[in-house]
């Protein structure tokens, strides 16, 4: 479900891959009308060409990629070639009737097209434009080629993630891109609120590396206040123990336990039945438990190893001890808290894909706001008629003429649809594979998951 909070706001999405599309997906879920622009020569290949249903690229692989579906839910999609002057004219007409533009090209692209903010402002004086990039649109390193590992690495976050004697760890779920895109959405809304009151638009420059650095703001304070540089500590707490991720019964199952004070420690000892080691002098208070945390962790694991991870969480929660099962992707899809609160929306992606649970990227519930059902992510060029004819007032003949000139329409230039390398997943430990995923999902999300 989306909420009609931004009803009547139209946003042009020129962005690709994760960060930019993430920003506009959030806004789509909040009720804005998002028009995603792609072209046959420049479609969102990385997300369109990745991870197909049941590993089958099918006849139109560009309409089957799961990454694209996940982060473009709720948007309209048109095809328009911006490499041509005529294509850019159409885009300018579209911008005239829109409120904002989001883009995440390299910093030079929009200017080279004559579509920098100063130019666009001439045709739409109160336009809001958000540029999302790795290091920002000005400064000596603005042209750095940057991907997620660069954003997380250059922000300081990677240096803090992982175990002390091991390399910095990449997030694995493109967290840097998420922070960049979500910060872009936050900035856009800030500007929109201001525009509503003053009629004034503005330009927004978001650097992913800076946005991520803001998320370790309290760690940076140790450097700026005390000249002390923090590094990787695994799952440890800076002053309390036991605090970590402990092995449970079963294959590759884990529970997090975070005992931060004496009261929780007493609860913990009681909950696990007070074995003799809990009375050990070495663990008598917060300071001593922290000093002797390595030995303590081993003892804690003797208890967790006897329990299922959910069971361990429940036993400890009853005693008021912060604890939580470490959920796999399968478990996230099935967990009662997520399911009961409607974290997933079941969206029908049509023939050959069927219904799949799509996560809420904007997980807030708004009472008092009108709800609406989300559209599935657009097929390539799906909404050309609506956008170019209904919104822009182009005639069907004009549309056809532009199709003939390859400015609108066509089939995306696309690498042959490649299945995911399941051999790497299994043999090389690149991940986990659950062959029963469809039947697992059907248990919680309905018998028709994956059918259609």
């Amino acid at each position: 479900m989306g909420y009609k909070l931004l009803d009547g706001i139209r946003i042009i999405d020129l962005a690709m891959v994760f960060a930019g599309p993430m920003s506009s997906k959030l806004l789509a879920l909040l009720g804005a009308e998002i028009i995603k622009i792609e072209s046959a020569v420049r479609s969102d290949v990385f997300t369109r060409a990745n991870v197909y249903p049941e590993n089958d690229p099918g006849e139109e692989p560009w309409n089957r990629g799961s990454f694209f579906h996940t982060i473009n839910t709720g948007k309209y999609g048109v095809s328009l070639n911006l490499g041509s002057e005529k294509g850019r004219e159409v885009l300018k007409n579209l911008i005239k009737i829109s409120d904002a533009v989001v883009e995440n090209f390299s910093p030079r692209v929009m200017d080279n097209w004559g579509m920098g903010y100063d130019e666009l402002k001439k045709i739409k004086p109160d336009l809001i434009m958000v540029s999302m990039s790795g290091l920002g649109h000005y400064g000596p390193l603005k042209d750095f080629y940057m991907y997620v590992p660069g954003m997380e690495g250059m922000s300081g976050l990677a240096s803090l993630t992982g175990y002390p004697d091991e390399p910095p760890l990449l997030s694995g779920h493109a967290y840097g891109d998420w922070v960049l895109g979500t910060t872009g959405a936050a900035a856009l809304l800030t500007a929109l609120y201001y525009r509503q009151r003053t009629g004034e638009g503005q330009y927004i420059d978001v650097a992913g590396r800076e946005a991520v650095a803001c998320h370790i703001g309290e760690v940076i304070m140790d450097s700026t206040l005390n000249g002390r540089v923090r590094t990787r500590v695994g799952n440890q707490h800076s002053s309390a123990a036991p605090h970590g991720c402990y092995r449970c019964k079963g294959n590759d199952q884990w529970v997090n336990i975070a005992v931060e004070n004496d009261e929780q420690w007493r609860g913990f000892c009681q909950a696990i039945g007070g074995p003799t080691w809990t009375k050990d002098e070495r663990f008598r208070d917060v300071l001593n438990r922290w000093k002797n945390r390595e030995e303590l962790d081993k003892f804690v694991e003797t208890w967790t190893a006897q329990h299922d991870h959910y069971e361990a969480m429940k036993i400890l929660q009853k005693a008021g001890v912060p604890s939580g099962a470490v959920l796999s992707m399968k478990e996230v899809h099935l967990d009662p808290q997520f399911v009961e609160r409607g974290f997933f929306e079941i969206i029908d992606h049509g023939k050959g894909i069927g219904k799949r649970p799509i996560p809420k990227s904007m997980p807030a519930k708004f009472s008092g706001a009108e709800e609406f059902s989300l559209r599935r992510a657009p097929r390539f060029g799906q909404d050309n008629e609506y956008v170019f004819c209904d919104l822009l007032g182009m005639s069907r003949d004009e549309l056809k003429a532009l199709e003939k000139e390859n400015i609108i329409g066509g089939i995306p230039k696309f690498p042959p649809g490649r299945p995911t390398r399941m051999d790497l997943v299994e043999k090389r430990g690149a991940g986990w594979r659950d062959p029963d995923y469809l039947s697992e999902l059907r248990k919680k999300h309905g018998d028709d998951i994956g059918k259609g």
Binding site: L6, T70, P149, A186, P363
Partner: protein
């Protein structure tokens, strides 16, 4: 001072720690008047969280508190008393937003149920931030950043590269908190935008566990389309290499970018290997990563991170250095963009801290200091009509 995006907006901030205060900090840094309501005598728990200036655990010297409460005002008020709640209602009447993270049911328990709040101020936006949300089987569970990260699904696939596979590891810092703060800010501003047209208030229920999970993006598609979850490791299934590797003075990322890998031999000054499948074909690298490693990593070990990254960037390779938090203030790009902010604090002196998450051309992000505990009691309560004598009396009763 310039234009402020949220000028004239009044926010009552009953959150503490990191997540909630990050939401209201963003409102304050972009110009809202944010009144932080703290417990008399103790204040926000972040005041007891390090790092402390000079390692002195003074509640007015916490770097964590400072960073998360810039540009806010602080008043003290005991909300566990009838008089306290009565005073609070007067504040609610004048407010646009109330942000709170008391936990499910607590507002009603202290006599501030949604019905009561609506009656006092029908246009109020109530942003309720909690670990698991106001509903659901886990709603009363205890949680921390670590446990929320595990339940939110970001830890399970986050495994270091060694074999056999190590245990899951949480992301550095307090990401579950910041994620929630940022999403709460978005939800609140969207509700404010809606209110300018409808004049209606909104109640927002946002959960930290769900906020964490919402960052997983493509992991969801991988599972529900294919039953796969990708592990963070050397042998990626969507391209290789994309990890961090040791160099002479630290660590580097050597993601070549689409079509960039044939330039790696140029950088290494072995141009004869440009056509080698290991560089020319992405699939060959994924199939035999150890061969690629054997060629490239010993060379990388001898390189200085900035020098090598800049040379690589010249030939379109997306190589980047890994920086520690301590290296950020000296970074030339951050300096040119004036990322770090400074503010004067009566106890801490001049404080340097991470600045704007985004550069807005008209309504700029503003630097500012964090408030002392109860610093704005006279100003705020005076505005409600309380005299200095009243405040003395309220203080003696432990109400403020």
């Amino acid at each position: 001072m310039g234009k402020k995006a949220f000028s004239g907006l009044r926010v009552l901030d009953c959150t503490q720690g990191v997540g909630g205060p990050y939401c209201t900090k963003l409102l304050a840094d972009f110009g809202a008047e944010v009144i932080k309501v703290e417990k008399p005598g103790e204040g926000d728990v972040a005041r007891r969280m390090g790092p402390f200036l000079g390692n002195d655990p003074d509640p007015e010297k916490s770097g964590t508190f400072f960073y998360l409460n810039t540009n806010k005002k602080s008043i003290t008020l005991n909300l566990r008393s009838e008089t306290g709640v009565d005073i609070f209602k007067k504040l609610v009447r004048e407010a646009d937003v109330l942000a709170e993270d008391f936990g499910p049911g607590i507002l009603s328990e202290i006599g501030l149920s949604i019905e009561v709040l609506k009656e006092v101020n029908p246009g109020l936006i109530l942003t309720s931030i909690s670990d698991f949300g106001q509903t659901g089987p886990y709603r009363h569970y205890k949680a921390t950043n670590l446990t929320l990260s595990g339940l939110g699904g970001t830890m399970y696939t986050s495994r270091p590269t060694n074999e056999p596979m190590d245990r899951p590891v949480v992301e550095g810092g307090l990401q579950a908190e910041y994620i929630t703060g940022l999403l709460s800010f978005i939800a609140t501003v969207a509700a404010l935008i809606s209110r300018t047209r409808s004049n209606k208030g909104t109640q927002i229920d946002i959960s930290k566990m769900e906020s964490v999970a919402s960052t997983l993006t493509m992991h969801f598609g991988e599972y529900s389309y294919l039953g796969v979850s990708k592990r963070t490791n050397l042998v990626a299934i969507h391209g290789y290499p994309n990890d961090y590797y040791p160099c002479k003075d630290g660590w580097m990322n050597i993601t070549p970018g689409i079509g960039g890998a044939p330039n790696i031999p140029l950088l290494m000054e072995i141009p004869e290997l440009q056509d080698d499948p290991l560089f020319a074909k992405p699939g060959a690298r994924m199939a035999e990563p150890e061969k690629f490693d054997a060629l490239v990593l010993p060379w990388l070990k001898e390189q200085e991170k900035w020098k090598a990254a800049k040379a690589a960037q010249e030939i379109t390779l997306g190589f980047t250095p890994v920086l520690t938090p301590g290296e950020l203030p000296e970074d030339e790009q951050l300096k040119a963009r004036e990322f770090f902010a400074k503010a004067n604090h009566p106890v801490m002196g001049e404080v340097t801290y991470a600045g704007a998450p985004a550069k807005l051309s008209e309504t700029r992000w503003q630097p500012g200091k964090a408030p002392l505990l109860g610093e704005h009691n006279e100003e705020i309560y005076g505005g409600l009509g309380y005299s200095k004598e009243d405040l003395v009396r309220l203080r003696e009763q432990g109400l403020i």
